[in-house]
């Protein structure tokens, strides 16, 4: 087991940002839409930037060897082999994506948060879960899940045991979500402002909350903005999904549904 290196800053030209696809075997339409997007990007000379939760679950890099993990890694591999860079940030669901996935896909990992410049605007990229600070129990879990020793304990177990643990955690988390107030699941504005201030940037792009939007905020007398990426689900009616693209200095949300 070795940890893949994650970039703390990245240079992007014409990036396409997606997050929260929650790809899994039993969401074939969502997977198809993702594969179509990768095909379209193959010839474009752009970059694909995935800000977390590409997968609904990832119990270790054995997941890249078959099923949905292999399909998606293979599609990303076609992109990277053809000269389209792919960057992946860990989400809360796929925090265990490791070096094996990076090798299979050719993708590079981004640290959370990660600095970049979009147009001329210094920007912070994040999955977003770190800013849901009112959810104390989740933050405690997040610290643990990102702790290397905990990862060692988890990844040291057999694949079958890991899958069973993930199923159990999912059940507990679903039960918890229903009883929790909606506002706790969103980011805390003060935490976002703090992050922007300490990074010295005026824009953030993140996912996680499934509340796509562009928020304007005032930060120490200056204008700042926060783009929230949409989650994807093409199995439901109406379907939803989309991406954020930057062309020149214009940031634009594109709806795929």
């Amino acid at each position: 087991m070795s940890e893949a290196v994650a970039l703390a800053s990245v240079r992007l030209r014409d990036p396409v940002f997606i997050s929260d696809l929650h790809l899994r075997q039993d969401r074939p339409r969502t997977v198809q839409r993702f594969l179509r997007l990768t095909e379209r990007l193959a010839s474009g000379g752009r970059e694909l930037v995935i800000l977390g939760d590409l997968f609904e679950a990832w119990v270790g890099d054995e997941d890249a060897e078959d099923g949905i993990g292999a399909t998606v890694s293979g599609a990303l591999r076609s992109l990277t082999a053809g000269g389209t860079p792919v960057y992946v940030m860990h989400g809360n669901r796929d925090v265990l994506l490791g070096e094996g996935f990076a090798r299979a896909s050719g993708a590079a990992f981004l640290a959370d948060p990660c600095h970049t410049v979009l147009g001329d605007v210094p920007t912070l990229l994040s999955h977003g879960d770190a800013y849901c600070t009112l959810d104390r129990a989740y933050q405690a879990f997040r610290r643990r899940a990102r702790d290397p020793f905990w990862r060692g304990l988890f990844l040291g177990r057999s694949l079958a045991v890991r899958r069973a643990i993930v199923r159990q955690v999912r059940r507990l988390s679903e039960a918890g979500k229903q009883s929790m107030a909606a506002q706790i699941m969103d980011v805390t504005p003060a935490a976002i402002e703090q992050a922007l201030r300490s990074a010295g940037v005026a824009r953030m792009v993140h996912g996680h909350t499934h509340r796509p939007a562009r928020h304007e905020l005032e930060l120490d007398g200056r204008r700042a903005e926060r783009w929230v990426l949409p989650d994807w689900d093409f199995e439901t009616d109406p379907p939803r999904g989309g991406y954020l693209q930057v062309v020149g200095s214009e940031v634009e949300m594109v709806d795929l549904a």
């Binding site: 087991m1 940890e3 610290r143 702790d147 020793f149 905990w150 060692g152 304990l153 040291g156 177990r157």
Partner: protein
């Protein structure tokens, strides 16, 4: 270099402790050895391919109270979590180690210090096994089970019967 011997139910393990590189950690560990804290404790978490952990539970999986305050994490000392090194266990708070320790049974590069942040502080190596690597290899392969909240507990208890300072 200080030397400590762990006399376990499966044989003896000699640890050479690196006082130069991890002064506070070694002093803390020696303090627990001298006070007899490790006598009659278990290797309570055994994961072959990762590490064997001990120093916190008595037979019967009774948690043993610790007597000293948590210590400053010295993982930025350049020592790596390579096979047969000994490091301090802790919670996800980097500066929370007390008495529990673990012996790496693989090169666990991902446990090394990379940055002074909560996620990247790493786990502090403070010594290595100089005799009894065969004992470590025997321990790492014992059968384990789930016991209450604890995973990876040896079916047959692996006991540190006594720990002694061989040389200061």
């Amino acid at each position: 270099m200080s030397t400590v011997c762990l006399n376990t139910s499966m044989g003896s393990i000699t640890l050479e402790l690196d006082r130069q590189r991890a002064p506070r950690t070694v002093e803390n560990f020696l303090g627990y050895v001298r006070s007899g804290h490790y006598d009659n404790t278990l290797f309570h978490r055994v994961i072959n391919g990762f590490m064997i952990q001990g120093g916190g539970f008595e037979p019967g999986m009774r948690q043993k109270p610790t007597t000293s305050r948590p210590i400053q994490n010295e993982a930025d000392n350049g020592l790596k979590n390579d096979r047969y090194t000994v490091a301090m266990a802790r919670t996800s708070d980097p500066h929370s180690a007390t008495a529990q320790f673990f012996i790496n049974v693989a090169d666990n590069e991902f446990l090394n210090f990379t940055a002074p942040t909560t996620e990247n502080w790493g786990y502090c190596v403070f010594g290595r096994v100089t005799q009894g690597t065969d004992v470590v290899d025997k321990i790492k392969t014992v059968a384990t089970m789930r016991l209450g909240a604890h995973q990876d507990v040896p079916d047959q208890e692996v006991v540190v019967e006594s720990a002694e300072v061989v040389s200061e």
